[in-house]
């Protein structure tokens, strides 16, 4: 009896707390969302670092498991549709529905492979997050630095809020925006060739690695 009333009390407390949280989120959305982009990306980078430092995953045989885990972190944080649209920019509309879908998938694998290789080469670098600036109320840039033995590499993440989730749509390393860089390459190819030709190049590239 006593136990039950206590659990009811608990339930009420939990309910009250939930209500309050909801209220706070509802009433002060601006205050709550400030800092969230940085927290999101920081948590994600820490997750990757945890995987890399996990001694159980350090053997050669565990390489696949390790990569799988990192892939799932990538898929959580990157918005591939946004990435693809922004990279292709006005060329996006030249692709039909199926082509857009395939492009998204190929681009995801290309970027994933590139970043996977870089991440797996990680030794004892440190990652420092130092600043977040809102580009608009739905876009933010989080600045970080990778500290290696001989230098600092500035690495910024551009993020967009979609359905209350912050997702990365561009990574800027030493001032070089990844999507702008790919855009210049894709523009050059698509100015001479149809979308299918670009897809073919991407397929070849992704299958090779």
């Amino acid at each position: 009896m006593n136990k039950q009333s206590r659990s009811v009390g608990m339930k009420r407390k939990v309910l009250g707390l939930t209500m309050m949280t909801v209220m706070v989120f509802f009433v002060f959305p601006l205050y709550v969302s400030a800092g969230v982009p940085q927290q999101t990306i920081e948590a994600c980078v820490n997750k990757v670092l945890d995987v890399l430092r996990d001694p159980a995953l350090n053997s050669d045989s565990a390489k696949d498991t390790k990569e799988e885990k990192i892939w799932s972190i990538f898929d959580d944080i990157f918005d591939y549709t946004e990435l693809s649209k922004r990279t292709l920019s006005r060329n996006w509309k030249k692709f039909n529905g199926d082509q857009q879908k395939e492009f998204e998938d190929l681009f995801r694998r290309l970027l994933g492979n590139v970043y996977m290789d870089r991440i797996l080469a990680y030794k004892d670098e440190k990652v420092l997050f130092h600043k977040e600036s809102m580009l608009s109320d739905k876009k933010a840039e989080v600045q970080s630095k990778i500290l290696t033995g001989s230098k600092e590499i500035p690495m910024n993440y551009r993020m967009v809020a979609k359905n209350d989730q912050w997702k990365v749509y561009d990574v800027v390393i030493e001032g070089v925006s990844m999507i702008k860089n790919y855009r210049s390459q894709f523009n050059s190819i698509l100015s001479k060739k149809p979308p299918e030709a670009l897809l073919k190049l991407l397929r070849k590239k992704v299958d090779k690695s």
Binding site: K85, R86, S89, R90, K93, L110, V114, D117, R118, A121, G149, S150, E174, G175, V176, S177, K180, N181, Y182, R183, S184, Q185, F186, N187, S188, I189, L190, S191, K192, L198, L201, L202, K205, S209
Partner: protein, 278 residues
């Protein structure tokens, strides 16, 4: 001999003004080359047909047309004219082979023979030696604080740091301003990139930055080592030492690209743009 650096600054400024005037004079020609070029390498023309007036405007201004359903405030393409494309592409291949066949194996062997600590010392030494380039460029941009920081670092590292072999200034943020060079100073003065140039041995550059590099080389003490063979040898040594820290970077950049030539061209322009802004 002592008045050389100041003479050099004056000469390079004159040269710059000349180039600037020339570039203003040439710009319609450039626009035409760009149209011609974009069909060959595809800067931003949408289809193969002769560009219409609208497309021409888009081409020269590098502005993507805004799509109605999406706010695209960051769509502007940092693009650059490439009128000497065939030369550049040739030099790109030359430098690529130079890296894989010569520089990389040599830097690898060197890195194997010399421990990291010693290589870092060499790196620090050359960095400290190139102080005049950064200092003068700070002054030319009226960056007093940065110039003071450069001067402070030079003083500290040359004395306490034993002729720059060590870098005790590393721990003081005020003594670590962003690196400046003449190309950036010119950019700060509002001078545009001009067009893209790839130099053998030196790699990607632009017309503006090439003029800057010439000026920089006069501010570099290594230039004044005689005989010239020794000066070139020292520069080569510096390059090998520098490369020993960066093996893998170029490979990764190339591996990530669908069209490495365009990727490197764009990365160079974006990177320089950011450095000018700083």
């Amino acid at each position: 001999m002592k008045c050389l650096p100041s003479a050099v600054v004056i000469v390079s400024v004159c040269l710059l003004v000349a180039v600037f005037k020339l570039s203003a004079f040439c710009s319609p020609v450039w626009a035409e080359t760009l149209v011609f070029d974009s069909q060959r390498i595809g800067c931003s023309v949408v289809d193969e047909s002769v560009p219409t007036g609208m497309e021409l405007a888009r081409l020269t201004l590098d502005v993507a047309p805004s799509t109605a359903d999406d706010e695209e405030e960051e769509e502007e393409i940092v693009d650059i004219a490439d009128p000497i494309y065939y030369w550049n592409k040739g030099m790109y291949h030359f430098n690529d082979k130079l890296y894989f066949w010569l520089l990389k194996p040599v830097a690898r062997g060197y890195g194997w023979a010399l421990p990291e600590g010693a290589r870092k010392g060499v790196k620090n030494f050359f960095y400290n030696l190139a102080f005049p380039i950064r200092f003068v460029s700070c002054l030319l941009q009226a960056k007093g604080k940065a110039a003071a920081g450069e001067l402070g670092r030079f003083a500290l590292n040359t004395t306490v740091g034993m002729f720059g072999l060590a870098n005790p200034a590393k721990e003081h943020p005020a003594l670590n301003p962003p690196d400046e060079d003449l190309g950036q100073s010119f950019g700060r003065w509002g001078i545009g990139n001009g067009f893209y140039v790839v130099w053998p041995f030196l790699g990607p550059s632009t017309l503006r930055d090439s003029v800057g590099l010439v000026g920089d080389s006069f501010l570099d003490p290594v230039r004044y080592v005689t005989p010239m063979e020794a000066s070139i040898g020292i520069t080569a040594g510096d390059t090998v030492n520098e490369t020993s820290f960066k093996i893998g970077d170029y490979e990764a950049l190339k591996e990530a690209a669908i069209d490495p030539y365009i990727s490197i061209r764009d990365a160079y322009v974006q990177h320089r743009e950011k450095k000018v802004e700083e």
